[in-house]
């Protein structure tokens, strides 16, 4: 790995200023679980790395009861989310999904913020965040701003971060009480080849809202409106898993890569959506 200078700012403003001044020559990092690997492989080079781990105020994990939103600071580790009694209480599906991210060493070290900012297409939890709704909060030389996750993730390894900007936290939800989640993934390497999430909000016997998200197979995770239309306004009794499967398979355009062929992922996406729907309907609760 090429030599670089390491900087450990004590305050967020200092970090932002440094990053703004150095531009492309500098990169912020926290756990470095993905960044260090690509730097070792010579795929990325920076003269300056800015360690964000000592910055205060970026590690909170809190639930807003009124808004029913879950706030995760950028420095929250995957392992913390996995083991958090709070997360297990308010959104157990997230804790369960985190348990399967990479391996325990990566989860001990890697952070939520780092995961989103690296924007690996075969990333795990972005799909689930999108399923619940996710607002990304940034701080830069121009001040603070927030984006929807769909606006933040712009492509493979690409985000909407402006020069000098740092992701400070994300807000997930609202996690509506009547919403049930299903989440399925297919993986044979360390990273998933395909992740599918289905969220169904019901009132009595009707589906009042539905979200279907597919990730890890296209450059960014995204909602599938055609699939959501199949579920919306449906009678629970009449919800057709096969219709969902067909809609998802028709809509996704997976990448052909080492994680699997496009046709295979296309077929699998529909199947996993059907299973995720079944999980949601049979699982119960915001789980």
């Amino acid at each position: 790995m090429r030599p670089f200078a390491l900087h450990r700012p004590a305050a967020l403003a200092e970090a932002v200023q440094f990053l703004t001044d150095r531009g492309d020559a500098a990169r912020p990092y926290a756990g470095g679980t993905e960044l260090m690997v690509v730097m070792k492989q010579g795929l990325a080079r920076y003269e300056h790395l800015v360690d964000l781990k000592r910055l205060p105020g970026l590690s909170d994990l809190a639930f807003d009861e009124a808004a029913r939103t879950l706030r995760l600071g950028a420095l929250v580790r995957h392992r913390e989310v996995e083991l958090s009694p709070l997360v297990r209480a308010v959104w157990p599906r997230l804790a369960a999904a985190e348990r399967d991210v990479a391996n325990v060493r990566v989860r001990n070290t890697g952070t939520i913020g780092g995961n989103l900012c690296f924007a690996e297409p075969h990333s795990d939890i972005g799909t689930l965040f999108l399923l619940a709704g996710c607002r990304v909060h940034l701080l830069g030389p121009g001040g603070a701003r927030e984006l929807d996750l769909t606006e933040f993730l712009t492509g493979a390894y690409e985000t909407a971060l402006l020069p000098g900007e740092v992701l400070t936290h994300v807000v997930l939800g609202p996690l509506a009480p009547g919403t049930r989640y299903g989440y399925r993934r297919f993986r044979f390497h360390e990273r998933p080849s395909l992740t599918v999430g289905v969220a169904v909000t019901t009132a009595g016997d009707r589906v009042t809202a539905a979200r279907v998200v597919v990730g890890a197979c296209e450059p960014v995770p995204r909602r599938i409106p055609e699939a959501e239309a199949v579920l919306s306004e449906a009678d629970l009794a009449g919800v057709r898993g096969t219709a969902l499967r067909e809609a998802v398979s028709a809509a996704v355009q997976p990448m052909d890569d080492a994680a699997g062929g496009a046709e295979y992922k296309q077929a699998l996406a529909g199947i996993l959506a059907e299973r995720a729907l079944r999980d949601a309907l049979e699982g119960g609760g915001a789980a």
Binding site: M1, R2, P3, F4, A5, L6, G32, T33, M36, V37, K40, L49, D51, K53, R79, R99, A102, N103, V104, R105, V106, N108, T109, E190
Partner: protein
């Protein structure tokens, strides 16, 4: 950039109970420091990308990949390697269990596998077989087929009566 011009950073790390003050290049990984500077060659270089687990050490009691953790990120921390497990000249119970169950063949994955097992038992003192499989999922072994490793962890957790050496 010549050697003398390269940026250096001072770190202080406690390794197996001993404090070390080192002046390192920021680009040095914990594995480089352990193997090359401290001559603790138990942790192995494997995939270099956090997949195989051969470099597993404990930092603050948690399993980490030394190959991909900057030594600077262990500054102020407590590291335990395979060399630090023995207790008063005797093998650590997990080490002994690995011996008793013949849970190694070439031995290359073994230091990492043992450290991962120690971390697992530290968080879950009596794991089921499924929990062991899940907990050690990030450590790859090409030789044993994993059965004796799982038996060793069960044995270390106090279930010596199970399965003998794990080879049926």
């Amino acid at each position: 950039m010549s050697q003398s011009e390269r940026p250096r950073t001072p770190i202080e790390i406690t390794v197996n109970g001993r404090r070390h003050r080192l002046s390192i290049e920021p680009r040095e990984f914990l594995l480089d420091v352990l193997r090359n500077r401290l001559h603790l060659t138990g942790a192995k270089r494997g995939c270099e990308m956090q997949i195989c687990g051969a470099c597993t050490v404990l930092l603050g009691g948690q399993a980490v990949s030394a190959c991909s953790l900057l030594a600077a990120d262990a500054d102020g921390g407590e590291v335990v390697t395979i060399e630090g497990l023995e207790q008063g000249g005797a093998l650590h119970p997990v080490q002994q269990a690995f011996v008793d169950c013949t849970a190694l063949q070439c031995g290359y994955c073994t230091p990492g596998m043992i450290m991962a097992s120690v971390a697992l038992l530290g968080e879950n003192p009596d794991p089921s077989e499924d929990e062991i499989r899940a907990g050690l999922r990030g450590n790859i072994c090409r030789c044993t087929g994993y059965k004796p490793i799982i038996a060793a962890v069960r044995r270390a957790a106090g279930h010596a009566e199970e399965g003998g050496d794990g080879h049926d």
